[in-house]
Each structure stands twice: as structure tokens, then as C-alpha cells.
């Protein structure tokens, strides 16, 4: 691995064909060659560009994490369990409609509604589920459109493909909501901006969603065969001690055993070490069993802190400090995950200095492995 400028051929060799692709959408929507189609990145024709945005912005091509962190947060990469942290919280929206539609406490929708209402941003690039519940990237420009994006599909969404298009087509101030891999890709877009065709500075806010893995490779077909997707209102994987994938209808819910769907876990996710979207302005996850209906929130940047403060002041967001027990648990989970993934990567490359896409100083690697 090196950080030389490369194009789509290397992208395929090093990422897509190497099983590292997370289907984030960063490489699609920028050119006529790479297209996200039915849970796959298709290369429609050969491209000879040596320094392609596809390779440069991919979250799974080599990145010097210190450099990206410096450019995005102005501080070196934090090798702690949770990355750069200003504040950890439990939060939920005070808006009943948002709470009802949201995955947990509706914090993401609530924050974005405030940001839109205040003109801090003009649009939100995020994921909405189509009628057949397949995820697609959309731009929400109103509270109503935001509400249509609430909820988790558990399938990868090419939300960055939409971002690539909208930053080319318009000059709006934007927020992006994405998974950890996607928020990292946005950081790479900011750290290594394209020469033209992309107003990445217009991305004023990045909200990251906690993520363990997504489901691909026939999962959608599995859902289609098992459920009447047009009637589904929500999917959920309840936290411990839950062991099911729950499918909600207006009339009630159906469940499948989690073990039944593990085979659909995206292979790319098994090399991901970031569960909390460490490069987002604000990271949001669920409140865990004891705090159902709440979200765990990590405020990371100044922009993130400002928005949370504004939402609290407006009475749109109810917050409380993250209980110590929760934080301790979260940190343990993250520490274990990072160690496990690092070991797995080293097992694959056979070389501690080759961590595939992770550009880390050796002392950090040593610390994380012990």
C-alpha cells in the first residue's frame, strides 16, 4: 500500500475485488464509469485517469489518519477508543412525531430539523427507503422530507453518490448523515478536495451513525421473499439481550433470528475498526436497553457542539450526561473491536506495517494491540 495517486483500476484491485468495499458510494456519481447498481459497484468501462477521485476519496484506500484528522479537526488522530470527543450524552428529540418515526430517540432528525430551520444548512444528504425498502441517497430540504428519511434499513446506502451529484449541481449548504465509513470518506473529500466539480466546503455538518455492520449480498432478496416490504414501517435490531431482527408493520411486528441473517453481513465490514464514526461532527447511536427511546451522542467538533447547544436551547433536544456505566461499556466494546480488527488485518497482510487502508504510527498500533 502506498499513498500515490491512483485510479479505478487500483480501486478495484485494492478495495472492491479485495473484499474491502463498504458500498459507501464515495466512488460513484463522479464519473460515467463507476456506478452503484443493486448493491454492487459496477465498472461500466475502463478509465485511464491516474489520479481518480474514486481512489482518492475511498474510505478503504490508504489514508494517513493523522493527516486527515489534522485537516478536519485541527488535532492529531486520537487513538483513544472513541476518537475526538468534546462531550458524550444521552439525547432524544422532544418532538413526538420525530420520536415516533426515529430509530431510537429521533436525535438525528431533531438536530437536523433545527439546523434546517435556522438556515445553518439548506439540505441534508441522507438515506431514505424506497417503497421496496431499498435504501437510496436523497437530499431532504424540509422537516417533512427529513421525517421521510427517519429509520434504519440495515443495508448499505450509496448516500455519498448523492452527495457527489449534489455538490456538483448546487451550491447549497449541506449536512451529510452517514455510517462511519461514509463520514470518513467525507473527511477525505475535505482533506483532499477535488480540483473542480465539487463544492465540498458547503458540507457544514457531518452526522455519523454508530454501526457494527451492514447487510448485503442477497439480503434484500431475502427480505423480499420473507416480508411484504411495501407494508413495513420500520426495521430494528434491539440491543442486548435482543437477538432478533425485527420487522414492524402498522399492525405489529415479525422477527427473524439474528443468526439467520448474519450470513449477509458485508465482507467489507469485517475490516472496519470504527463503530462510532470518529470523523463526524456528531456521532449518534442507540441508548442501549436500559435507555430505550434515547440516543447515545458523541459531540466531536465545534460545529457539532454549536448545533447541540442550539437544539437544547430551543427545547428541541432533551439531553442528559451519558451514564458512566454506559461510557465504560462503550469504550470497552470499541477497544476490543479495534484490537480484534487490527489483529485480523495483520493476519491478512502478514505485516504490521501494512494495515491495508489504515495509516497509523507504529506506537499507536502497539498501544492498541496490548
Amino acid at each position: 500500500m502506498s499513498d500515490e495517486a491512483r485510479g479505478c483500476r487500483e480501486l478495484f484491485n485494492e478495495v472492491i475485488d479485495a473484499g474491502l468495499c463498504t458500498l459507501c458510494g464515495a466512488c460513484t456519481g463522479v464519473c460515467p464509469y463507476l456506478v452503484h447498481y443493486k448493491g454492487r459497484v459496477a465498472l461500466l468501462d475502463n478509465c485511464t485517469v491516474a489520479d481518480g477521485r474514486c481512489y482518492r476519496h475511498c474510505p478503504r484506500t490508504y489514508s494517513d489518519l493523522n493527516e486527515v484528522s489534522q485537516k478536519v479537526f485541527g488535532v492529531p488522530f486520537q487513538a483513544d477508543e472513541l476518537g475526538v470527543v468534546r462531550e458524550t450524552l444521552l439525547a432524544r428529540s422532544t418532538d413526538q412525531e420525530i420520536q415516533h418515526k426515529g430509530q431510537d430517540g429521533g436525535t438525528v432528525t431533531g438536530l437536523l430539523a433545527v439546523a434546517l430551520a435556522d438556515g445553518f444548512i439548506e439540505g441534508v444528504v441522507e438515506t431514505a427507503m424506497a417503497d421496496d425498502k431499498s435504501p437510496q441517497g436523497v437530499v431532504a430540504r424540509s422537516r417533512q422530507e427529513l421525517l421521510q428519511c427517519a429509520g434504519n434499513s440495515y443495508e448499505p446506502s450509496p448516500v455519498l453518490e448523492r452527495l457527489n451529484r449534489v455538490t456538483r449541481e448546487s451550491n447549497e449548504k449541506l449536512a451529510v448523515v452517514g455510517l462511519p465509513c461514509q463520514t470518513f470518506a467525507v473527511s477525505k473529500m475535505k482533506a483532499y478536495p477535488a480540483a473542480r466539480d465539487m463544492n465540498i466546503d458547503n458540507v457544514r455538518l457531518v452526522i455519523g451513525l454508530f454501526c457494527g455492520w451492514v447487510l448485503t449480498g442477497g439480503f434484500h432478496q431475502f427480505l423480499q421473499e420473507k416480508f411484504d416490504l411495501s407494508r413495513v414501517v420500520k426495521f430494528d435490531i434491539p440491543h442486548h439481550p435482543g437477538n432478533t431482527f425485527d420487522v414492524y408493520y402498522e399492525s405489529g411486528k415479525e422477527s427473524v433470528e439474528l443468526d439467520e441473517i448474519r450470513r449477509f453481513i458485508s465482507p467489507g465490514c469485517s475490516y472496519c475498526w470504527d463503530m462510532t464514526a470518529e470523523f463526524a461532527d456528531i456521532s449518534v447511536g442507540s441508548g442501549r436497553a436500559k435507555f430505550r427511546g434515547w440516543n447515545t451522542v458523541i459531540v466531536r467538533s465545534e460545529a457539532g457542539a454549536e448545533l447541540v447547544e442550539r437544539a437544547r436551547a430551543r427545547g428541541a433536544l432533551e439531553t442528559r450526561p451519558l451514564p458512566e456505566e454506559n461510557e465504560t461499556h462503550l469504550k470497552k466494546v470499541m477497544r476490543d473491536k479495534k484490537r480484534r480488527i487490527l489483529s485480523q488485518i495483520i493476519a491478512r497482510t502478514g505485516d504490521r506495517s501494512d494495515l491495508l487502508y489504515l495509516g497509523l504510527p507504529d506506537e499507536i498500533v502497539s498501544r492498541l494491540l496490548t
Partner: protein
């Protein structure tokens, strides 16, 4: 230049070889001609069809060569002189009927088959010499050495066919068929044709039904007797002649257009006193006595012919029967490596062969002359690769297929067929076609592939044929696929034309060879009647076409048909101007940068799209742009603009 029906006996007319053949048929008083188009043979029926109504004959562009030959045989059986003409591939198509026809014999009307071979496969998929079929099937065969002979031989073959009661064959090649030369024309017979099929049960005859190959053994014997009679006639034929000294140092044995190359070569070397040329016009069966007499002139023989060593081997077989004292000592030709058994010949090749054999010097010009001449010629020619015409719907069709196959992601591929869209093998068709053989073979090959799911095969197969090819021979393969539930998609590129050979009508067009309207066959209804699911799309609607292909490929159940309907651009532009004015917005064009990488001029490859190296931007060649506007749809930057013209 005069039309072939000009009534001016004794005058000299400038005809291409194919017109000379057609004129010869008119002078022989034919009443019936049927063919399927194929370069280089197409103008034979084409020129006859143009005058058919005027001279009172019937002409037909048949659905394929076999049907054409069978139809012409019907005319012969009813006493009408009949002609069928085809390129080398057509001879393969008719071969089964032909093998039976030589046994059954022809009717009272003389019947002539013209085969136009295409040495070097200039306009063909394959290179093939059809003369061996005359030897294989026992057919008297003539080969014209110039345009006059093309006419005269054709005429005479009808007399010979009637005298022998068997079909006779004329073998031409591209350089005779399409070159133009002087032909002194003869009388037109102004014959009143009367067709009548004589009652089949002739009680005096041993064989009650004349026109059939059985009983095979006596009929085979009879055929050999006919060939013996043909040989006798050939012994004194004026189409065979010798030019040169009494006892030349080297004797060239040649036929067809090679006769002209041989003469040029001997003249260029100024060896008229040392080299003799035996020019054969009746090449099967060989006039053995005539040939033997001339073989005795020299101890050194060189065979010059295109493509196979047909005369060479036949003469060598013959020579095996000669006594040692009579046999010439050395044979040169394809077997010895002095002449290639592939590609076209030319005077240079003949000169080099003579030089090698006789060891004579020959330096016609500076060594680098050819390089300089090529460079000079190139400087006047725009740099273009072989490709679909500007505005051609096939470009859109292959772009859509390429995109759909990539999106589908199961490594699907295209089986190709014969027509303009055969270029789908190359860059203009984005290298999509992965097989190409004879007409109708795309769905045939696909119908086999479509059965291999039982062996783990899961790649989608798109079989691509044109509308004319569909009727020619794709239909049986489609039926085979539908009936046997083969998993593939037949893509019919319906441009309402037999475009590659010159826009001859076919059953989908609603017009006959004689320009009379008829009811077109409804291709869509025909496919549906077989039980195939049919989708219709316009290839210029790229998005819609890609969707149709993706949906159809995903079905995986039996044989499906996608009809891509869009008329041939060359036909459209005869009656209408370009639909769009197309230009490049150079501000928006990003050329080679990330986000485009010259999609239009590097991949899409319409000849009207040019890369302006200095500006590093795309541009439109207004002279050849057809204004189809398709490039505006594929430009990722929206830099190509189309405005209604």
C-alpha cells in the same frame, strides 16, 4: 453508363463484372432470377431487378440463398431459364439442395448458379474458395478471366445446362464482380416465356418422378456421364487458350482474374519469349487432353489461382496418369510455397514467384518508393477506424448492451451474427460480440449456451441479429430456443433494411425486389406466436433500452426477444435532414480530466466526434455529423449540446 438491357448489339459497353453476368443472363433469355444479397454478388440480381419489369422477367430477393435456389429450380422445372447468384457463404447455405439437384437434374429451362468469391474476405467473415464444390458435387464450372467472358460464359452456360440437363456454375471473384471493363454486347432474344410443368408420370420412363435424386445409384452414374460430356465440350472451348512461345522455359497455368495478373507480370518482366500462359476458362471438369498437350510445352509449371490450389491439385492428379516421359518435372504453386493459398493475388506476387523460379532480376523502383507512396496517400486520408456510420442505431444498441451487461454483473456476453452489426466485435461495438460465424448462428450458439445452467453456467447471453438475418436463418434457432426452453435473449436490431449489402428489401420491409408493395411480415407478432416474450424499444432511448435489457436478462426463463427498432440512418437521411444541430460547449467539456476521461472520443467513438488535441476538448465534425444527438445523452458533463435543427 448504359443499363444492362440496352438493345444495341455489337456495341461496347462499360459494365462491372456483375452487370456483365446479368447481361449474359438476359442475352440467354432468362425468365427468372432469385438471390439473397451478399457482397460481392449483390449487383447481379440488383441490376436484373432494376430492369425486370421492362424486359418481362421475374426477379426476387428471396429470404435466403437456399430458398432462392429452390425457387429458381422451380422455374427451371417449368421450362424457364433461371439464374441464382450468391457470395461464397450462400453456396454453403444451398449446398444440401444443390447436392440433391445434381442427382435429380434440372428441368427444360437452363439453370445457372453464379458464385462470387471474396479472396482476402474484403467484405466477408470468411475466406473461401467455392470451386471445390463443383468437383465435390459434379457440376460443370467456368471461371471468367475478364468482363467479356463474364457475359459470354454466363450466356453459354444456359445452353450447356440444357444440353446436359444439369446445373452449371460460374465462379467469379470480387475483382471481376466489382471492377468495370468493356463488354461487347450481343442480341437480346425478346423471348416470350411460357411456363408449364410437364406431368411427372412418364410411363415410358423407368423413373416415374423425374425431379428427385433417387434411385441414387443410376442417377449418380448418369451424372458422371453428364460430366464426361461436359469434359468433351470443354476440350474445344474458346474460353481456354494458350499465349506464349512454342516451348517456354516456364508455363503458367491460370484462371479467372489471375489470368490478368499473370499477363501483367510476364509483360513487366519482359519475359514474353520465355514464359507461356495457359489460361483456363473451363476449370471443372478439366479438359484433360487440351491441358496435357500444353503441359508438354515445358518442364516447369507454375500455377496462379485464387484461393485454393484447385487447378494445381487437379492437374497434378491428372499428371499422375501420364507416363514418365510425358510428365513435367517440376510443379510450382501453393504447394511449393511460391504462391500463397490465402488472400488475394496481384501482379507483384506473380512477379516474385517467376523471379524465384527463373532467377531473373527485377527492380521496378526504389526500395523506399512504397513507403513514400503510402505516406503521401495517408496524408490525404482522415484517420478513422472501421466503425458504424454517424447516426447509426447499432452504436446505440451496443452501447446499451455493454452498459446493461456491466450493470447486470454476471459476466454476460453477446453472440454476434452477420450484418453491419458484425462490427460489434470491434471497438465501434465496444468489443461486445464474442462469437461470429455464419448468418443465423448468433441465436443458434446462444440456444446451446442457454441450456448449460445444469452445468453451472449462469452468464446471461444476448444473441444479436439484424432484421434481414432474422428472416434468413435466425428464425429456426429462435424456435429451437423457445421450444427447448433455452435461457437467452434474442436481440433483433430492426433497422428496416438489409443495410450492409445495399438496402435490398426483406420480408419485414413491405417491398419486393421489383419495387412492388407487399404485406410486411409482423416480426413482433411472429415472435409472440412462437411463445417468446417480446419487448420493443428504441435504441436511441438509451435509458429505456438498458432497462429493458436488464429486465429481460433477469427473467432467466426461456427465450426472450428484444426488438430494437430504429431505421437505418443511411435510409433516413435520403429523405430528411439531421434532426439536431450538435455542438460542444467547450466551457463544460473537461476532456481528459477525472469525471470524463474523454468518454466520447475514447470510448463512444462516433466518427463525427473528434478530439481537438490543441484545445484538449472534444469537437464535432459538422461535415459528417448526422445530428442524431446520441452523444449529448452520453456526455457525463452535459457539454455536448443538441438543439432541434
Amino acid at each position: 453508363m448504359a443499363s444492362i438491357e440496352i438493345d444495341a448489339p455489337g456495341t461496347s459497353q462499360l459494365f462491372i463484372g456483375n452487370e456483365a453476368i446479368a447481361r449474359g443472363a438476359l442475352e440467354a433469355g432468362i425468365g427468372f432470377a432469385a438471390a439473397y444479397p451478399g457482397t460481392p454478388a449483390s449487383e447481379i440480381l440488383g441490376s436484373l431487378a432494376a430492369v425486370a419489369a421492362k424486359v418481362g422477367i421475374y426477379t426476387e430477393w428471396s429470404v435466403n440463398e437456399k430458398v432462392a435456389m429452390e425457387a429458381a429450380a422451380g422455374a427451371s422445372y417449368a421450362g424457364i431459364r433461371a439464374l441464382t447468384a450468391m457470395k461464397q457463404n450462400g453456396v454453403n447455405v444451398v449446398s444440401d439442395f444443390l447436392a440433391n439437384l445434381v442427382m435429380s437434374g434440372i428441368g427444360k429451362g437452363g439453370f445457372v448458379l453464379v458464385s462470387c468469391d471474396d479472396p482476402a474476405a474484403i467484405s466477408s467473415g470468411n475466406e473461401q474458395d467455392t470451386r471445390p464444390i463443383a468437383k465435390w458435387f459434379d457440376i460443370p464450372l467456368l471461371e471468367p478471366g475478364d468482363f467479356q467472358e463474364a457475359k459470354d460464359m454466363t450466356s453459354w452456360l444456359f445452353d450447356l445446362a440444357e444440353e446436359l440437363g444439369t446445373i452449371c456454375m460460374l465462379r467469379s471473384v470480387t475483382r471481376i464482380a466489382h471492377a468495370r471493363g468493356n463488354v461487347t454486347i450481343g442480341e437480346l432474344p425478346h423471348r416470350q416465356h411460357r411456363a408449364y410443368f410437364h406431368e411427372t408420370h412418364d410411363l415410358k420412363s423407368v423413373m416415374p418422378t423425374p425431379f428427385m435424386p433417387i434411385p441414387s445409384v443410376p442417377r449418380h452414374k448418369l451424372l458422371h456421364q453428364k460430366m464426361d460430356r461436359a469434359r468433351e465440350r470443354f476440350e474445344s472451348s474458346p474460353f481456354n487458350r494458350y499465349v506464349g512461345p512454342e516451348s517456354p522455359e516456364l508455363l503458367i497455368v491460370t484462371s479467372g482474374s489471375c489470368w490478368l495478373y499473370s499477363r501483367d507480370a510476364v509483360r513487366a518482366l519482359r519475359l514474353e519469349d520465355q514464359v507461356g500462359i495457359l489460361k483456363l476458362g473451363t476449370v471443372w471438369p478439366l479438359p484433360e487432353e487440351f491441358v496435357q498437350i500444353h503441359l508438354g510445352r515445358s518442364q516447369t509449371i507454375l500455377f496462379i489461382e485464387e484461393i485454393d490450389p484447385f487447378i494445381e491439385r487437379s492437374v497434378m492428379e491428372m499428371a499422375a496418369n501420364l507416363s514418365c516421359s510425358e510428365a513435367p518435372s517440376v510443379f510450382y504453386g501453393k504447394r511449393s510455397g511460391h504462391i500463397n493459398a490465402y488472400g488475394e493475388l496481384n501482379p507483384d506476387i506473380v512477379i516474385q514467384a517467376i523471379r524465384r523460379i527463373l532467377g531473373v532480376p527485377y527492380e521496378p523502383r526504389d526500395a523506399d518508393y512504397a513507403d513514400r507512396a503510402t505516406a503521401l496517400a495517408k496524408s490525404h486520408v482522415p484517420e478513422r477506424s472501421m466503425g458504424f456510420c454517424p447516426g447509426c442505431s447499432h452504436r446505440a444498441a451496443f452501447w446499451a448492451m455493454k452498459t446493461a451487461l456491466k450493470l447486470d454483473g454476471r459476466n454476460g456476453f453477446v453472440t454476434g451474427d452477420v450484418g453491419c452489426y458484425g462490427l460489434g466485435l470491434g471497438p465501434t461495438g465496444y468489443f461486445q460480440a464474442r462469437t461470429l460465424h455464419c448468418m443465423g448462428s448468433a441465436p443458434g450458439v446462444a440456444s446451446g449456451l442457454g441450456q448449460l445452467d445444469r452445468f453451472g453456467f449462469s452468464q446471461p447471453v444476448l444473441a444479436v441479429v439484424g432484421d434481414s438475418t432474422f428472416y434468413h436463418s435466425a428464425l429456426p434457432a429462435l424456435i429451437n430456443g423457445v421450444y427447448n426452453r433455452s435461457n437467452f435473449t434474442l436481440v433483433i436490431l430492426d433497422n428496416s433494411a438489409t443495410a450492409m449489402t445495399g438496402f435490398q428489401p426483406h420480408p419485414g420491409t413491405g417491398m419486393t425486389a421489383m419495387a412492388e408493395p407487399t404485406d410486411p411480415v409482423d416480426t413482433e407478432a411472429l415472435c409472440r406466436s412462437l411463445g417468446a416474450r417480446v419487448e420493443i424499444c428504441d435504441p436511441f432511448d438509451l435509458t429505456g433500452t438498458i432497462e429493458v435489457l436488464l429486465r429481460t436478462m433477469a427473467e432467466e426463463d426461456g427465450t426472450r426477444v428484444v426488438m430494437m427498432k430504429r431505421g437505418c440512418e443511411l435510409v433516413r437521411k435520403k429523405s430528411a435532414g439531421p434532426p439536431y444541430k450538435v455542438y460542444v460547449d467547450t466551457e463544460k467539456c473537461i476532456g481528459e480530466a477525472c469525471g470524463c476521461d474523454r468518454l466520447c472520443t475514447r470510448l463512444f467513438l462516433c466518427p463525427a466526434l473528434i478530439w481537438d488535441k490543441d484545445a484538449a476538448r472534444a469537437a464535432i465534425d459538422d461535415i459528417i455529423c448526422a445530428g442524431c444527438g446520441l452523444c449529448a445523452d452520453i456526455c457525463p458533463q452535459g457539454a455536448i449540446v443538441k438543439e432541434a435543427a
